[in-house]
Symmetry: C2
Subunit: 195 residues, 2 copies
DNA sequence: ATTATTACATACCGATCGGTATATTATTAA
DNA sequence: TTAATAATATACCGATCGGTATGTAATAAT
């Protein structure tokens, strides 16, 4: 009934996600965004509302794909201990490879926006709680299989692992000595083994 | 030999610190800053260089006073376990009292700037490593007094505590259920007791 | 073929951005 | 009292900010 959209809305959103991920909300300008998205301003505004709306859409895209990545990663090994070990080690090695390190878009947003905007306070919190559920399910799989001690509190330990992951991800932004990071990962994995 | 400065440079810097702490580097405008500092732009530029220079001075002021606060807090109890317990619990309760929660200025800066500016990568990393030294000294005090097991690795544990503190501080920005946080603190303190 | 509808590109909006030129005022040294 | 120095206040700079009005091009229903 009308002229069809010429750009791929999902591709454009992914490009916007990359820009916000790299620069943050404030530092990403409309010019940055439209350049990377390959569209003009009016197209952006008609498709996504305004800058905050585009940011929210980008963050939602990130959280859902990130959750899928985490879930997939933890299912790649039948051993739960092995699954957590490779997951944390991958987080670390990926961050040292990239330059500049981007970290986690959701954590970045939590720091920049959660304290001043309730919408993002909720959105970022719920993603962390969702990751916690994924961790918990993985731990329970290990308990069921007999790999992990039946006495561990999967829910509590999952929450601890999530907060540890946050600390790890943030600290990596300052490019600390790898020995410090490897030591931390080792201590965290100890919790999975002996708790 | 010339007209004396009419404003207190340190008070002005503290006001700038508050603004950057609340808003971050990008979102803090020169108008915000001069208004809270109670000075005019030319005074700001002659005293602190430019916006980044003022930010750096503010961050340095923060890290030194924050390090002093942490050291003082950990020395308030002769029991090292008690010292860490009240320290972490204070971090948590202070953050739930404030609205909006400000978190840690150094961590905020690490997330916003460390990946794009080597100066802040180094500055924020060194502050965390300095906190780690304070933690380590406190742990060693506990070992010396016999309160802590002599077998613990004070340096490694201190680094773990610092990264855990980062995760805790960041996650608090999303105002998670207090139960989740209290559980995390309890697990972290367990490391001090049994490692 | 005409009309309604919607996406497109250009060009523009007022506001605000970080930063500074200019002139005045206050101080100290001579 | 005068000259030198530096801090102040005002007013301004070009650039860029987020956001939009306008006219044109493309599609689908009639």
């Amino acid at each position: 009934m009308a002229r069809p959209r010429e750009f791929d809305q999902d591709k454009a959103l992914e490009a916007a996600m990359d820009v916000f991920w790299e620069k943050g909300f404030e530092a990403a300008s409309l010019s940055d965004l439209t350049a990377r998205m390959g569209i003009q301003r009016p197209s952006l505004y008609s498709a996504f509302g305004d800058k905050k709306g585009l940011f929210e859409a980008a963050l939602r895209k990130y959280t859902s794909s990130h959750a899928a990545y985490v879930r997939g990663s933890l299912h790649k090994h039948s051993s739960v201990k092995e699954a957590f070990r490779t997951f944390f080690e991958d987080v670390v090695s990926k961050e040292y490879e990239k330059s500049p390190s981007t970290g986690c878009f959701c954590i970045n947003s939590m720091v920049e926006l959660a304290a001043h905007d309730e919408k993002f306070e909720i959105l970022t919190r719920e993603h962390q709680m969702y990751l916690s559920v994924i961790f918990q399910e993985t731990l329970e799989r290990g308990i069921q299989s007999g790999e992990l001690d039946a006495g561990i509190n999967a829910k509590n330990l999952a929450q601890t692992l999530v907060i540890s992951l946050i600390g790890l991800t943030v600290f990596l932004k300052s490019r600390p000595d790898r020995v410090v990071i490897d030591n931390f990962v080792k201590q965290i994995l100890t919790l999975v083994t002996i708790s």
